[in-house]
Amino acid sequence: MHPAVSVIFFTVASGAGFGLIFLLGSGFPVGGGAGRAFFVSLIGGGLAVAGLVSSTFHLGHPERAWRALSQWRSSWLSREGIAAIATLIVFGFYALIWMVTGERSTLLGALSAAGAAVSVFTTSMIYAQLKTVPQWQSRLTPVVYLGFALASGWLIAASFGNSDSSEIWGIMLVVLAWAAKWAWWARAARTRLGDAGSTPETATGLGFIGKVRLLERPHTGENYLTREMVHRIGRKHARILRLVALVLGCLVPVAILTLVGMTGAPAFLNLLAAASMIAGLLAERWLFFSEAEHAVSLYYGHR
């Protein structure tokens, strides 16, 4: 699949934003008065909004995006839009009350946290629902999206909050999220199109005669389908990108958290861990798209 930068940024940024909103709504301890409350809420909401705005950049008609809120009965993309907007509105009130009164409403917090979790889940289901991409169609896909959202959100929260054990919990969440991703990668490696039972033979229905091979494409040039779904250039540097994802996304954050936790250095240094993890997740998300094999590639002689 074509790794669109807008969608990669959307899934990573809104994941971290909703992860942070989930933690704030659940009562992650943040001291320091109205200014701190404003700032940390702004980061959570800002990341989520930036992600959502970015996702509209890949639309052919962004001015019609509001129409995407209508089909929640059948469409995960529609549900995602509704969940995200509803969560942001509730969280906005939560943050406002927090700043003005210093009180953190348990009810609005719980609603924000639940909404944030639902938002990330529905984002992951946009991909996990697709039978055409067997590597995505897995229960592990929502697990990975939720795991990364929580872990990256935790690292930001740990930079501004004042929880005593936020580093050790951060390390655990980061490692657990990457363990889920490792399992996802292992499954993806054995869930290619052929493993899922789709071959050029089933695509053409000609397998009863013999082995099927594409002789000639419909047109000499590229088309929307080949650019969007038979995209292979992004896989060229898959190995090195996976290493980048693991080092920036896992090793560096764990090292920083360990240092901060052991030396008692200022907690805002954890922000470096968060930034590094988000950079690693951008590489991870690039691979999520570029390594995915779509069924239509069988009609174009590729996997």
């Binding site: 993309l77 089933t202 969007e228 069924a295």
Partner: protein, 248 residues
């Protein structure tokens, strides 16, 4: 509404005969012509006369080589357009209600004014039946020529999809799959019509008729081939045949 309708009264669709298709691309060209000039927005191209021509097509003709285990390879031309699936995944994923399946005849359509061009329906389709229009930025797909088949303005014989009307080898057939006596239902029954990628669970309406079996009995040994040689009896040719045979 992007939920699928109750099973439609009529299930209109195409039968494509892979035995008679000659791969001339006339169906794709007539499709492009009709859908560029018809009611909806044009089916556009970018850099059509330049080095990197590209555009939206609703029908594309692939050519495959099929190699049996014990016979020479054969060529199969393979036109591919929307299959108007009973369980169309492109419909249910649509967030706006633009992509829909009609309750009356099962045709899968895109309402262009509602389409935001997110492309998710094209991702959900295993067949590559949907293409983003590079100028209009909305999703385009085969309409089964809904603007021809119900048209009062066209002569009776033209009230079929453009691809079917133009096919010079009659490899394309249009009809109602719910009617067991229709031309398409009979063809599918007689020739063993096949579904593409049944494992995707889309239950396509369009069916493909497989190529008829090739004649495969060929004499194998040299002696058998010799025995099959024609022999001239009597006259000058008979004398010549016998004389040359003696020479070896």
């Amino acid at each position: 509404m992007t939920s699928l309708p109750a099973p439609p009264e009529k299930r209109l669709g195409l039968v494509i005969d892979l035995d008679t298709c000659v791969g001339c691309h006339a169906c794709a060209v007539n499709c492009k012509e009709w859908n560029t000039g018809a009611g909806a927005s044009p089916l556009s191209d970018v850099d059509a006369y330049g080095a990197d021509a590209s555009g939206a097509w609703l029908n594309r003709i692939h050519t495959f080589e099929v190699t049996p285990r014990d016979a020479p390879a054969q060529i199969v031309h393979f036109p591919k357009s929307c299959l108007h699936c009973d369980d169309a995944p492109c419909v249910t994923v649509c967030p706006t209600g633009a992509s829909h399946k009609r309750g009356e005849d099962g045709i899968v359509l895109v309402t262009e004014d509602l389409c935001i061009g997110c492309g998710l329906c094209a991702w959900a389709c295993p067949y590559g039946a949907r293409e983003m229009d590079p100028v209009e930025n909305v999703m385009k797909k085969c309409t089964l020529c809904v603007d021809r088949i119900y048209s009062d303005a066209l002569p009776e014989e033209d009230r079929i999809p453009a691809c079917v009307r133009t096919c010079p080898s009659s490899a394309r057939h249009f009809g109602d799959f719910n009617d067991p006596e229709s031309n398409v239902s009979r063809l599918v029954a007689e020739r063993g019509g096949i579904d593409l990628m049944p494992e995707m669970g889309t239950r396509p309406v369009n069916k493909y008729l497989p190529p008829r079996p090739k004649t495969t009995e060929r004499p194998s040994s040299a002696a058998a081939r010799q025995a099959e040689m024609p022999k001239a009896e009597g006259g000058f040719l008979g004398w010549l045949d016998a004389a040359l045979e003696k020479l070896g």
